[in-house]
Amino acid sequence: MSFETQKNEIIKICKKLFKEEGTKVIIGFAQSEVEGITTPLFMRTAEDAEKLKWDSQCTPNLAKYLLEKRGKVGIVAKTCDARAIVMYLVEQQIKRDELYIIGVECPGMKNNDATASCGCEACKMRIPPIYDVLVKYNAEITLPDSEEASNTVAIEDNLKKFQDEMKKCILCYSCRQVCYGCYCKSCFVDMNVPNWLPGEISEGAKMIFHLGRAMHLAGRCVECGACERVCPSGVNIRYLIKEITKFTKELYAYEAGIDPEETPALAVFNPNDSEAAMSGSEVQ
């Protein structure tokens, strides 16, 4: 099998959905006018299904569009979209019975220069955790093997790295707009009362935004890599979130977007939780 056969199968399923299930809209991928860029496709009729695109450039995370749709919706979901869907179910943002998930086994997305897209470079889960129908790839998928070295570096280096990333940021909030997890009606950076961010674009404002956002994504990030991919200034802000995702996984054995029945790590507690952070002792 290949992308092409998978694509044909998805189109077949979409057509069937329109005909037999009365699905109003199916969200998928389409080629944009710019070469190498994929845009979302909202299919409403069987003809629309012909426009579907499924190849190694289908990087966007489509889950966020579900929040704007009402009624029976279908969605083409690779693993990271499906993980985001699981999180929406956990956070009660969408209803499972209004959703038809066409799960697609994902062989990994590529950048235009054929390197693994960000998010995919470390992804080991290629079958979506939730689906109504699964479109298999049916061929060997080579998974990335190397675990990223944990960074137990000096605190000075941590600060330098953080500040270097912050210098690049222009506070455009694209990373927030694209992230599945950032769907707050009123984000803390947009608030006037209290005014979390100082009025000007300063290093401090950027730090508060990124630390605050990282904290809001703690234990919720589904590692889709969208935030890093869309950044116009090439800020690698995901390294912060990655670090705490790893941390919550180790400490609380919780991974976001796997099990729709499980409560996120920071929304529950265990009376015997680690006291590692308390009394000034160091967390490492």
């Binding site: 904290m215 400490l251 507690f269 939780d273």
Partner: protein, 156 residues
């Protein structure tokens, strides 16, 4: 690092003693009462802390801590009731997870772990309150001024 060189307007160089500012969040039911007890018992502790009373340690928005540090606080201390003693039953247990993750995040961003101090102090532990404030102030004095914001000022 306790002494900082300050250039006065006349161009004279003056060595000024730097004193840390430690923003302290205390929960209304245990730790704030503990601090009160320290006061009424006339226990001595450094005047570097600035106390803010919150209803519960579970009410601590991580942004309070982040904003305090980025706006120039040299240290942040948060204290709530001991696990099991929370006035709202489990606020401090939720807070414990949040603090653990927040501390990890701040370390990753280059803030020294000793600047952020989470602890439990009950209403009867006035002595413990004084001891802990001493300890925190010591740690922060050793670390010197909070670099995350000072290095920004130096650069711009």
């Amino acid at each position: 690092m306790a002494n900082q060189t300050v250039i006065e307007s006349a161009g004279k160089i003056k060595v000024e003693t730097w004193e840390p500012t430690i923003i302290t969040f205390l929960c209304n039911w245990c730790s704030y009462a503990g601090a009160d007890l320290a006061g009424t018992s006339r226990l001595q502790y450094p005047p570097n802390i600035r106390v803010i009373r919150v209803p519960c340690s579970g009410r601590m928005n991580p942004l309070y801590i982040i904003k305090a540090l980025i706006e120039g606080a040299d240290g942040v201390m948060v204290s709530g009731c001991h696990p099991g003693d929370c006035h709202y039953i489990s606020g401090n247990l939720f807070a414990r997870r949040r603090f653990t993750v927040l501390k990890k995040l701040l370390i990753t961003a280059g803030i020294e772990p000793k600047r952020i101090y989470f602890t439990w102090i009950s209403a009867s532990e006035g002595q413990r309150f004084a001891t802990i404030v001493n300890e925190v102030t010591d740690h922060v004095k050793k670390l010197g001024p909070n670099r995350i914001i000072r290095s920004e000022i130096n650069e711009f």
